[in-house]
Amino acid sequence: MNDEEERIQKLLEQAIAPTRGKLQCDLWPKMLDRLATPAVAAVPWFDWALLAAVILLLLLAPRSVPLLLYHL
C-alpha cells in the first residue's frame, strides 16, 4: 500500500467505523417462508415486446390471423 492509500485509509477509518455487527436472531423461520414461496419465473422484457408486437399486428392486419395460425 502506498502513502496516498494509507492517508486515505486513515481518513476513511476516522469517518467510517468498521462493522462489528453480529447476527441477532435465527433466520431459519424467514428462510422457511422464502422456501415456501413459489418461485415466479421472470418473463424477459423481450417476450413481452414480442407479445405486444403480435397483438398490434393482429389489430392492424386481421387478415394475418390465418397466416399466424398456419405457422403455429
Binding site: 496516498e4 486515505i8 469517518a15 467510517i16 467505523a17 468498521p18 447476527l23 433466520l27 428462510m31
Partner: protein, 183 residues
Amino acid sequence: MELPSAVSDQQSERFEQFARGDLEAFEALFRQFQGEVYRWIVRMVRDSGVAEDLTVETFWRIYRAHARFDPKRSFAAWARRIASNAALDYLKVAKPQVALEEDLAAAEGLNPGVQRDLRERTQRAFEKLPAKLRVVATLALIEEQPYQEIGEALGISVGAVKLRVFRATRVLRKELRKLGVEP
C-alpha cells in the same frame, strides 16, 4: 484448525446430502453458516436489516444451486461468493449506506478529535464511488480483510483487487478535493 475425524466425516456427509438436495442437510448448513454469511454481507452493505434479508436471499440462491456444489470444495468460500454477488446486486440499485446505526451509537472506533464536518465530507466522497469500487474499498480499507479473501469472494484475482483499491483511492482523492479536503 483440523476437525476430529468423526466430525469431519459427518460434515462431508452433510455436504454430499446437501448437494443431492436434502432439506435437513441444508437446514444444518444454514444454521452453521448463517452468522458467517451475515457478517460478510453486513460489512459490504452496512445495514443490519438489509444484511438479514440478503442472508436469506443468499441461502435461497445456495439452495437452488445445490446440484452445482462440489462437496470436496469449501462451502464457506462458495457461500461467501454467492453472498458477495447478492450484496453487489443490491448495492448497484440501492442508495449508498455508509454508517450503521450501531456504529454511530457505539462510536468508540471513531476519533473524537476529527470534526463532524470532515467525517461527513469523507462519507459523501465515499458514496460517490461506483458499487464495484465501493465494495472493494470497504472490505480492504475499512474492514481490513485480506486481499486474497476479497478476491475469492468477488471471483477476481488479488491483482484485480489491488487495482480496484488503487482506482477507488484515486476517485476518492478526486472527490475529496472537490469537497475541499486535501488527503
